[in-house]
């Protein structure tokens, strides 16, 4: 699946998008896998309260299933308007 990062999450991890192969079944499990990779991931995901997640372009929460998902995106709370 594609994993996307926006705003300061993108800056901390250092890339906007990457392809990830995972057996994770939920967003939270995917986050655990990503955090174990490198310090920059660990740092970006250190406070989940400061993050929001979308699965296949729909806002959801960290308990959500990612089985069969094509796209998971992580970003800070939105500041539109």
């Amino acid at each position: 699946m594609d994993v996307l990062y926006f705003a300061w999450v993108r800056e901390r991890i250092g890339l906007p998008k990457e392809s990830v192969t995972t057996d994770a079944e939920t967003v939270a499990e995917l986050v655990t896998e990503l955090r174990a990779r490198e310090d920059r991931y660990d740092l970006a995901f250190s406070d989940l309260n400061a993050l929001r997640v979308a699965v296949d372009q729909e806002l959801t929460d960290f308990d959500a299933s990612i089985k069969g998902a094509r796209e998971v995106a992580f970003f800070p709370p939105m500041t539109g308007g």
């Binding site: 939105m78 500041t79 539109g80 308007g81």
Partner: protein
């Protein structure tokens, strides 16, 4: 209903005029436009807005559809820009058309509350000094959703 996500500036007057034009059953048109605001003393060089292409259009359509259904609007318009903007530039606008003004005002207010916290846009300020910083979401913006 029309939803536009674009980088280039929009003509607020022309958009408002076109939106209001030719409606015989709508007694109230409300428009709101958001403008890049300098945080004082000319310290802001530019505002940069990032968004999530693909999700943005869908999220805005969902928010606008909910407003149209809830207030029985005749029509709704949302235009939101992304990219780099200088102080004084218009970032976005919403317009609502309803038979009566209360519904048009409330629906526009609802649109703005949801646009702020549920549409995938992120603002980054570039100061004249060269410093940059992501604009933090405010608790009061999240709290504002509970009144709907």
């Amino acid at each position: 209903m029309r939803i536009v996500v674009q980088e280039q500036p929009f003509d607020f007057g022309a958009e408002a005029d076109a939106f209001a034009d030719g409606r015989h059953d709508m007694g109230a048109i409300v428009t709101f436009t958001g403008v890049v605001r300098d945080f004082g003393g000319g310290g802001l060089d530019a505002m940069e807005i990032e968004h999530y292409p693909g999700m943005t259009q869908k999220a805005l359509e969902k928010i606008a559809s909910e407003a149209v259904d809830r207030w029985s609007l005749g029509d709704a318009l949302v235009i939101h820009r992304y990219g780099r903007m200088e102080p004084g530039e218009k970032i976005m606008m919403v317009a609502t058309a309803a038979p009566h003004r209360k519904d048009a005002f409330e629906a526009a207010d609802y649109l703005m509350d949801y646009l702020k916290s549920r549409a995938p846009f992120w603002k980054k300020e570039h100061a004249v000094s060269g410093e940059t910083g992501w604009v933090a979401a405010k608790d009061e913006d999240e709290d504002a959703l509970t009144r709907w």
